[in-house]
Symmetry: C2
Subunit: 286 residues, 2 copies
C-alpha cells in the first residue's frame, strides 16, 4: 500500500492551442507520470496532441470532458494553451455542462479571472487537483534579469516603469496583461485581441525616434494555475516588426515557450528580454 | 474705462481637427466676441478655419503661435479639436518653443493629462486665460439621461457598469477614455489609436449574441479645458457597424458634435445614447 501511495499521480492536460500542451506532456512523462490530453475542439492543435493518449471535446461538453478525465484515471489537472473565450451561444453546454455552468454562476459573465477561478473551483469540487503548468515545466518559466545580449537602457527602463504602472491597472480591472509604451506614451493596451494583434496595432501607431517596449504582467487576482502570460518566438518577431526595443515580463510567472528560439529571435533583432523581479514589482505598488 | 473693462474679451481658438473650432468661433461671435483662430498645421481643417481671421502654424512653432495670439489681441484661449500627439522629433520646436518645452519639462514625456496641464500652465503664465470649449458652446455638451428613442436594457446597463469601472481605471492611469464591453467581456480598450479605430477592432472581436456598449469617460485628472471626450455622427455610425447597442458617456463633460446628426444616426440604427450623471459616477467610485 505504501508503494502505491507514492506512485506519481496521473496528469490530465486540458489543452488549448500551441505547442505547450505537448511540452507539458513530455515533461510529465519524463518525470515518470502517465499523461492524458483532453484537447479542446477548435483550439488544440491536432499535431501537438496526436503523439499522446488523447480525446478531442467541445469546450461546452463539460460533462464529457470530466467523464473522460475520470475514465482515464487523471488525478492532477493542468490547463494550458490559449483558448478564445466563447460566447454563451458558442458554448452550447451539454446537460452536465449546463449544471456546471450554473455552479460557475455569475463569474462566467465577469472577467477572465473570475471565470477561471470558478472553473478551478468546480474541477476541485469534482475531486481533481488543479496545478499550474509552470509546476510541470519549470524550465520554460522566465527567470529574473536580462536574458539577451541587448540590455535595456535608461529610456527603455523609463518606458518599462510606465508600462508596469499601466499593466498593473489593467490587471486590477481584470482587462488584460499587456501594453506597449514608447517614449512615455501608451501606444496600445491589450484587452481580448491578444498580444500579437496589439503589437500589430502598436507598429502602426508608433512615433518617430526611439522605439518602445512591450510589458506583460500577471494580473494581481490571476490564478497562476489558469492563464500565465506566454511569450514565444512569434511574440519576439512581432515586437521587432512593431519597432520595439524589448520585452519586459514578470519573472517566475511568465512562460517562455521555445526559449532557445525566443532568445535567438531576440538576439537576431537586437531586442532585450527582461524578467522583472516580482518582489520589486510588488515594492513599486502604490 | 468702465465700459472698456466690460467689452467681451477677444477669443483665440487653438484649433485641431474637425468642425468644432468653427462652431466655437460662431458661438463666440454670436455672443459678441471677436475671434481669431490659430490653426495647427496638419490638424486644423482649412475649410473650417477659412471663414474666420486665422493663421496656420506648426505645433512646434510655439513662439510664433504665442506671438500671433498676442498680436491679434486674444485674451481668452480655447483649445479644441483633436491633434495627434507628436513625437519630439515631429515637434521641431522653434527657439521660443524650445524654451517653452523646457518649462513644460518632464510632463511632455508623461501622459496626456500632464502635458496638457503643463501647456495650460505655460499659456496662463504668458498672460492668457484658458477656458473650456464647453463654456463657449454649452449647447453641444451632452446632458444627463437617455437622448434617443432606444432605451438601454438591463444587460446594457450591466455592460455600462463594467465599462465605467474599466474606463475609470484607464483614466486614473492617464491611458485613455474609452472601452467596449459586450456581455461583461471587455472587447477593446482605447489608448492613442482613437475611438474609431477601437470601434473597428471591437467589431472584429465581437461575440455572438447580444451586442455591447461603448463607454467614454473624462479622465479623473483631466483638465476639462483641454480635451473633453467628443462623440460625433461618425462615432455613432462606427458603433452601429461594430454591432454595439449604444453609447454611454459622462453628462456635462462630453461634446456631442453635430448633436442632431448624432441623434438621427442613433435613432436610425436603433442605438441608445446615454449621458451618465457625474454625481452617480462619483458615487460609484471605490
Amino acid at each position: 500500500m505504501k508503494y502505491q501511495a507514492e506512485m506519481p499521480r496521473k496528469l490530465g492536460i486540458i489543452a488549448g492551442g500551441g505547442a505547450l500542451p505537448g511540452q507539458v506532456a513530455a515533461a510529465a512523462r519524463a518525470a515518470g507520470r502517465a499523461v492524458f490530453i483532453l484537447g479542446l475542439e477548435g483550439f488544440a492543435d491536432p499535431a501537438v496532441v496526436a503523439p499522446w493518449p488523447h480525446e478531442i471535446r467541445r469546450l461546452g461538453a463539460a460533462g464529457r470532458i470530466i467523464a473522460a478525465l475520470r475514465q482515464h484515471g487523471c488525478q492532477d489537472l493542468v490547463m494550458i494553451g490559449p483558448i478564445r473565450r466563447p460566447s454563451l451561444l458558442d458554448l452550447r453546454p451539454d446537460a452536465e455542462g449546463a449544471k456546471l455552468l450554473a455552479r460557475v454562476g455569475r463569474a462566467a459573465f465577469a472577467g477572465d479571472d473570475g471565470l477561471l477561478a470558478a472553473v478551478i473551483r468546480v474541477l476541485t469540487e469534482e475531486g481533481f487537483r488543479v496545478i499550474g503548468a509552470h509546476e510541470i515545466i519549470r524550465e520554460v518559466v522566465a527567470p529574473a534579469g536580462v536574458l539577451t545580449q541587448t540590455q535595456p537602457d535608461a529610456q527603455a527602463m523609463s518606458d518599462i516603469d510606465r508600462g508596469v504602472q499601466v499593466a498593473r491597472m489593467l490587471g486590477a480591472a481584470d482587462v488584460g496583461q499587456g501594453c506597449v509604451v514608447q517614449q512615455g506614451l501608451v501606444l496600445a493596451v491589450e484587452a481580448i485581441e491578444g498580444t500579437d494583434a496589439m503589437l500589430l496595432r502598436a507598429g502602426a501607431l508608433r512615433r518617430d525616434g526611439i522605439g518602445g517596449v512591450l510589458v506583460k504582467l500577471v494580473k494581481p487576482s490571476q490564478d497562476k494555475r489558469a492563464d500565465l502570460p506566454t511569450i514565444g518566438p512569434d511574440t519576439v518577431r512581432n515586437a521587432a516588426a512593431a519597432g520595439l526595443r524589448g520585452l519586459a515580463f514578470e519573472a517566475n510567472a511568465t512562460i517562455l515557450a521555445e526559449r532557445e528560439a525566443c532568445l535567438a529571435a531576440a538576439d537576431a533583432a537586437g531586442l532585450f528580454l527582461l524578467g522583472l523581479d516580482p518582489e520589486t514589482l510588488k515594492g513599486d505598488c502604490q
